[in-house]
Amino acid sequence: MADKVNVCIVGSGNWGSAIAKIVGANAAALPEFEERVTMFVYEELIEGKKLTEIINETHENVKYLKGHKLPPNVVAVPDLVEAAKNADILIFVVPHQFIPNFCKQLLGKIKPNAIAISLIKGFDKAEGGGIDLISHIITRHLKIPCAVLMGANLANEVAEGNFCETTIGCNDKKYGKILRDLFQANHFRVVVVGDADAVEVCGALKNIVACGAGFVDGLKLGDNTKAAVIRLGLMEMIRFVDVFYPGSKLSTFFESCGVADLITTCYGGRNRRVSEAFVTSGKTIEELEKEMLNGQKLQGPPTAEEVNYMLKNKGLEDKFPLFTAIHKICTNQLKPKDLIDCIRNHPEHMETSIMPSPKL
C-alpha cells in the first residue's frame, strides 16, 4: 500500500451516501488516509443537470440522500475505472446484481494490492442454485481480498447521526485496523471480527426470519410467539452457518451483525412489513412489492428459496423447519397459519433437552 491510503466508494445510493459521510470525514481527519475520496456515481440527469456535478458543487446527493451534506473531499466520478484505479480500499455498496458486471469492468484496472469491503446485504444465486456470497464473487473476479460490513444499520438513521453499532468481518487480521479506522465514528461503533463469511451470511439469513416474524404479526399471534420465531430463527442461522460455512465462531452471532440486526429486522424491517401484509391482505408477494416498495425486490423470499435449495441438496430440510416453512409459505405451498405447526416440533426442542452442552 502507498504512503497514504486511497479510498474509493463504489456506489452512491442511500446507504453509499450515508457511509460516504463517515468515510469522507475520517479520510479528512486521519493522517493515514488520502484526503480525497472518490465516489463512483452512476450518471443521471436531475432536472437537466448531471448528478455528479450537483454532488461536486452542492455536496448533496439530491437523488438518494436529500438533506444531508457530504464532506467536500468526497468527489463524485461518473466513470467506474477512473474512480477506482488508484484506490487501495474499494468500498462496494451497489445493488448486488451489478457486482459481476462491475467486477468485469474493473478487472486488471485496479491496483493489484488493493482490498475490497462489501456493504452489500444480499447474495447472488450460485450456478445451479444456492447462495453465492457477494464478497466471494468480488474476490473471485478481482483476485483481491474482500471484507464485509454488516449490522443493525438503517441508512437514514446512520446519516442522521443516530447511534448504531456495526460489525466488520475480515479474514485477514492485518487489514482490521485500517478498516475500523475508516468506518468508526462517534455515532457508528465498529467491531472487527475474523469471521467474514458468518457476518455476511447473517446479513442474508435474517431476512428469512424477518418474514416469519411478519407472518406472526399478520396472524396476530402475539409477542411470545414472535420471540419464539426469532429465537428459533437464530438457532437455525447458527446451525446453517455451522453446516455450510464450518469454522465460524459462535461469538460472531453476539455481534451487531447477529442478534442486534436480527431483532431490528424482525421488528422494523420491510421484510417484516410486507410479510405481515401478505397475511392480512391475501395478495401475492409480487403484488405487495409493487404496492409497498415501488417494485423493489424483497430479500427474504429469494433468500429462503436459495437456502431451501441448499438444504434440500443435503437432505436437511427437516433440521431447518422454520426456514423451510417460510420458503413454502412465500411460494404458497403452505398457509401462513401452518408456520406454527412446522416449528412446534422443532428439533431444538428435542435435542437440546437433556443433552449437556459445554459450560461457559
Partner: protein, 359 residues
C-alpha cells in the same frame, strides 16, 4: 414415592390458573401422573359463594380467569397443607411475597421426597442486598429440591393458545422427563435443562434491560440503537451469570428463558412501559408505578439496584457498564444521555475477547 406422581398447584391467580389447564389435561392422560390434581385456592367469597365451591362445580376461576374452563380433574382445596400433603410434585405459582410464609406453613407437612417447581417471577432481597432466588428460598425452607419454569411472561397468550415456549431448569435428574410432560401442550413447548440457576436469574436480569429499552423508547432513539442496547444487555446477562453463578451453560441463554424472554420484555413489558413514561413525563418512578402498573412491583429498578449492590461489592461496576448506567438512571445519578455514551464507549473485550483482533 408411589407409582404415580401426585401433583399439587399452590396458587390460583392468573398464571396459576393458566397453567392449571395444561397440568390438568396432562395429568388426566399421563401414565406417570395421578389424574386428580389439587389446586390450593386462597378462599374468598364471590357473590356470597366460596371460590373453591365455584371452581369445583363450574370449573371456572371466576375471580382471575372468568373466560377459561379448567379440566374437571383440577380440585380446588382451601387448605394449603391438605392440598400439598400427598403431593410428589408441588407447583408454586403465588406472588413472591407469600413464599416464605407459605413454606413455613408447609414445613414438615409435605413428603420428604417431594419435588417443587417454582413458576414465580421475581426474587427476594437478601440481608446483604443481594438477589435471592425464589427456588433457593423454597429449597432452604422446605428442604426439598426446587426446579423452575420460566419463559412465558404473558399468561394471556398461553391461555389464548398462542404458540409459546418455556424453559425448565430442573434440579433433580429423576424429574427430567416428567416435568415437561406436566406443563406442555400443543401450543406450549417446554425444554428442560439442568442449568436451573441460570434459567431463573435470566428471568430477573432481563427486567433491567427491559427498563433500559423503555428509556430508549422514551428518548425516541431509533430501532438500531435499541437493538444495540438489547445486544449489549444480552452480553452483560451472560457475563453476570458467569461471574455469580459459575458453571452455567452458554446454550441456556439461547433457550426461551434467555433470548426470547429478553426480546419480548424489551418490546412488550410493564418495565418497558414504565421506563418510557418515566422518560417522557419526567415524573418520579414511585408515582408512575401506581398509575401505570397498579398492584405490580416494577421489577426493573429493584433488580437494577440489587444487581448494583452485588457488582459494587465485587468492584465490578465498570465491567458491567449497561447494568450500572441503568441503575444510576433509575436513582437519578446519571442523565439519560449516559445510556448512549455507555453503548458508545463500553469496552468490547469485556466479554470473550478471543474473536476480536487486538488492534
Amino acid at each position: 414415592m408411589g407409582d404415580k406422581h401426585f401433583v399439587c398447584i399452590i396458587g390460583s391467580g392468573n398464571w396459576a390458573t393458566t397453567i392449571a389447564r395444561n397440568v390438568g389435561n396432562n395429568a388426566a392422560r399421563h401414565q406417570m401422573l395421578e389424574p386428580l390434581v389439587n389446586m390450593y385456592v386462597y378462599e374468598e367469597y364471590i357473590d356470597g359463594r366460596k371460590l373453591t365451591d365455584i371452581i369445583n362445580t363450574t370449573h371456572i376461576n371466576v375471580k382471575y380467569m372468568p373466560d377459561y374452563v379448567l379440566p374437571p380433574n383440577i380440585i380446588a382445596v382451601d387448605d394449603v397443607v391438605e392440598a400439598a400433603r400427598d403431593a410428589d410434585i408441588l407447583i408454586f405459582a403465588i406472588p413472591p411475597t407469600f413464599v416464605s410464609s407459605c413454606c413455613r406453613t408447609l414445613l414438615g407437612k409435605v413428603k420428604p421426597t417431594a419435588h417443587a417447581v417454582s413458576l414465580i417471577k421475581g426474587f427476594e432481597r437478601g440481608d446483604d442486598g443481594h438477589i435471592i432466588l425464589i427456588s433457593g428460598i423454597i429449597m432452604r425452607q422446605l428442604k426439598i429440591p426446587c426446579s423452575v419454569l420460566v419463559g412465558c411472561n404473558l399468561a394471556h397468550e398461553i391461555s389464548n393458545d398462542n404458540y409459546c415456549e418455556g424453559t425448565i431448569g430442573c434440579r433433580d435428574q429423576k424429574f427430567f422427563r416428567v416435568l415437561p410432560d406436566i406443563f406442555k401442550s400443543d401450543t406450549f413447548r417446554v425444554v428442560v435443562t439442568d442449568d436451573a440457576d441460570c434459567v431463573e436469574i435470566c428471568a430477573a436480569l432481563r427486567n433491567i434491560i427491559a427498563f433500559g429499552a423503555g428509556c430508549a423508547d422514551g428518548m425516541e432513539l431509533n430501532e438500531n440503537t435499541k437493538a444495540g442496547l438489547i445486544r449489549r444487555g444480552f452480553l452483560e446477562i451472560i457475563q453476570f451469570v458467569d461471574v455469580f453463578y459459575p458453571g452455567s451453560r452458554m446454550a441456556t441463554f439461547f433457550e426461551a428463558c434467555g433470548l426470547s424472554d429478553l426480546v419480548t420484555s424489551c418490546y412488550a413489558n410493564r418495565n418497558r412501559k414504565l421506563a418510557e413514561a418515566f422518560v417522557k413525563t419526567g415524573q418520579p418512578l414511585s408515582e408512575l408505578e401506581h398509575i401505570l402498573i397498579p398492584g405490580h412491583e416494577p421489577l426493573g429498578p429493584v433488580t437494577a439496584e440489587m444487581v448494583n449492590i452485588m457488582l459494587s461489592n465485587k468492584g465490578l461496576e465498570e465491567k458491567f457498564p449497561l447494568f450500572t448506567t441503568i441503575y444510576k438512571i433509575c436513582v437519578g445519578d446519571a442523565p439519560l444521555t449516559r445510556l448512549i455514551e455507555t453503548l458508545r464507549f463500553a469496552r468490547e473485550d469485556i466479554y470473550h475477547p478471543t474473536h476480536i483482533f487486538q488492534l
